[in-house]
């Protein structure tokens, strides 16, 4: 459905994303893993058309997304990493803005917005201005905004950031339920447990390049590791985390 072929993005001559290919298919959830600065968000921004790749292409149903970005985005839901919203709007007003820009019928918005906000537990805060929201509340508004128009492709970039435990569990079930309804989903996250529970396939990114691209089960088997966390450590961590932590603790105590 949504495919990226050999994506490369260079900033000031340095490749931040180097030869990354992804294929999102209906009903599939792909986990996108990598340490900080590995190029996850840059890839996501290229997939959504917010930035153009230096080379490579992104196609939606076989057509480059740049040919008709508007049409592509009609089918795309996107939860960005940073919850930048209009602070002077209330949660309801923000979702109404998004819904109206997406040309959704007013009656649908009237029913859907309170119901979605209620499902995520912020119905009481729907009339408060977003400037007073916590990070988790903003994240919930972003999730509602991304799903308001029933998209075919959903890209989550660190969706669990700031969410409480209960909502994280709801989100994981929601992702699986959406996949069951035929949505193609990319789930970019730092939280290995979530990716392990939600995704069938994972792509591990390290310094802009794909370090692994396989099913979670396959990675565990091939690398003879019991969990995705151990697989991830093996693939992308150069130093022993315990030793790094000990060094850091020593630095903290240094006078």
């Amino acid at each position: 459905m949504l495919e990226a072929h050999h994506l490369v993005k260079r900033f000031y001559g340095t490749a931040v994303v180097d030869d990354v290919s992804v294929a999102l298919r209906p009903g599939e959830v792909i986990g996108y893993l990598g340490p900080n600065g590995s190029g996850k968000t840059t890839t996501v921004r290229m997939l959504t058309g917010l930035i153009e790749p230096s080379s490579g292409s992104v196609t939606y149903r076989g057509t480059p997304i740049g040919d008709d970005l508007v049409e592509f985005r009609r089918h795309l839901g996107y939860v960005p990493e940073e919850p930048h919203l209009y602070p002077f709007l209330s949660g309801r007003e923000y979702l109404e803005l998004v819904g109206r820009l997406r040309e959704l019928p007013e009656a649908l918005l009237r029913d859907k917005i309170p119901a979605m906000l209620g499902s995520l537990g912020i119905h009481d805060a729907a009339e408060q201005s977003i400037s007073s929201y916590s990070k988790g509340m903003k994240q919930k508004v972003l999730i509602c905004a991304a799903l308001l128009h029933d998209p075919d492709v959903v890209i989550f970039d660190e969706p669990e950031s700031g969410l409480d435990v209960g909502t994280v569990l709801v989100l994981r079930h929601l992702v699986r339920a959406l996949a069951a309804r035929g949505k193609a989903i990319l789930y970019s996250s730092h939280i290995l447990e979530s990716v392990e529970k939600v995704c069938e396939t994972v792509i591990v990114l390290h310094r802009g390049r794909v370090a692994a691209d396989a099913s979670v089960q396959h990675l565990r088997t091939v690398m003879a590791r019991g969990s995705l966390e151990e697989v991830f450590s093996e693939l992308v961590l150069n130093e022993d985390p315990e030793r790094t932590a000990a060094g850091l603790a020593a630095l903290v105590s240094a006078q």
């Binding site: 993005k9 260079r10 900033f11 000031y12 001559g13 959504t48 917010l50 230096s54 008709d68 970005l69 508007v70 049409e71 985005r73 795309l76 996107y78 960005p80 940073e82 930048h84 919203l85 209009y86 602070p87 002077f88 709007l89 209330s90 007003e93 923000y94 109404e96 803005l97 998004v98 819904g99 109206r100 820009l101 997406r102 040309e103 959704l104 019928p105 007013e106 729907a126 009339e127 408060q128 201005s129 400037s131 007073s132 905004a145």
Partner: protein, 602 residues
Amino acid sequence: MAASRTARRLLRNHFLQRFLDNDLISPNADRHEVLVLLAAALAVPGLVITVLILGQKYVIGIPTPGLTSIAALDDKFLYISASMLVMALMAAVQWDALALDERDTAILGPLPLEAREIGRAKLAALAMFVAVFAVTLNGVPSVVFPLLTVSHFHVNILALVRMIVVHAAVTMGAGAYAFLAVLLLREVLRLVLGPHWFGRVAAMVQAALVIALGTTLLLLPALASNVPARWLLRDDVLRTVPPAWFLGLYEAGTGEVTLTIRGLGLRIPAGLVVAERQARLLYDSLLPRFSELATVGGIMLPATACAALALFVWNNRRLPLPRVSRQRAPGRARSQAAQLIAAAVVPSPVPRAGFFFTLQTLARSVQHRIAIAGACAIAIAAAILLMHGIRAIASPAAAPIRLLALQTVVMTIVLVGVRQALAIPAELRANWTFAMAWNGDVHPFVVGVKRAVVAGVVLPVLSATFALHVYLVGARAALQHGAIGFVLSLIALEWLLRPERLPLTSSARPPGNLKALAPIYVMLLFVVAYNVGRLEQWALRGGMASFAILMGGLILTYAAARLSGLHRRLSGGQSRNPLLARIEFDDLPDTPTQRLGLGEPV
């Protein structure tokens, strides 16, 4: 534990930087660039007025001491008032940054700093801001103006230095007084209303202050003429005219020099002997008044400073807690009424998005509110000038053209302000929302924006002018005039809101060669307004038939403007999809390196 000197300096610098983060045109722009522009904007008007206008007046025009001392009163009043108004205006614009707020709590709260230390650093930053601002504003005139006023007389260097010091001290003191008065108002409101109500009222007070101060500043040249008769001889001057207090201080400080110059025995040209004698008599008669005014000024400045500082310290004795705005959901009846109105005014989704987003942004965003308040100030000043001397009108047909032109002038100025406000992004970093949900066609969104401007700006302005015209020319003529104003507003909107950039999302860019174009546009506005006024005068004299002809012509003009826009849209590529490439949904501001193309990804 007391903060170290370094910590205090860092805190003070942090607060100083916050004053510069509030620029209206280019959020997060390069700070040095903003500083240079701000300094130039403050220093240049004083320099131009002093050297180009007053230079001619004193060096060429007034050769005698008595006439100079009286003429200088007007100019001193102008300097003092300008300093006060600009400083007060700056305080009003910086309203939110005048005291500690929730953001300070979030940033500084976790640090091991006492609230008292943070408050002290904020106060130091305020003091430094006021000082730098006052010096930049008044520095050049303080040196040049005294030199000009004594250019014909042999004054010793000590007397000249005294005049320079007094001018600097009085104008800067007056500016500081005005700044402190706004701070005092803010702190009194905060103390009396409490955080919740203060949060609700503050925005309105800020907008009202910007309008009132901006209007007065624009009318200042007129207000600062014939100062002795207009202000100094009034009975209530001691209570109600703060610039006069500082003029009293000025004269108390330099009066001896003025009287010494008289004693130099200069030869008075024969044609000026009488005028010179009268001027000296007038000045002498004002000396006791100067003394009274100086006393009031001498009391009011420290009293205001003490009160403002005491309240500031009290209100900022602890860091403010985050305020949760508890908005209630609109009631059922209100909600249904809003739905009905929205369904009638903006039935389709995208225009509706533009309609509500525009109203919400213009009403709630500080930057947008200040931009519109500034335009309102200019419009009110223009209206007062146009209204000058108009008292009662015998019949609608006798209405002077400038009264009929007033509505067009006011409306156009306000709409230009709205256009400027719409060019400021509502929140640059939230622009991705539009990028992701955009349907590729600017037109429907702009339709919603225009309707919001009609509902939120045009109709309220027309209501205000309508009330004035009912009083002056009667209800029927006012209704006709209002109808014409409404159609003219629609035409102006078509012209001003051409969808080249998406309102409230794309970054404002400096308009092309405004220095050359602005005077042309202003002249054009008055030519159009006066000619429309002349046509209206003809229509009012000719009865309903003439009015119908005029309205028909205007409606046809509006229809032509709409058709022209439609034609441009259909033939110029503003069809649905290709347009996206032309709309810039900036999510980051331009930095100087980006503007030079140095930051482009390779």
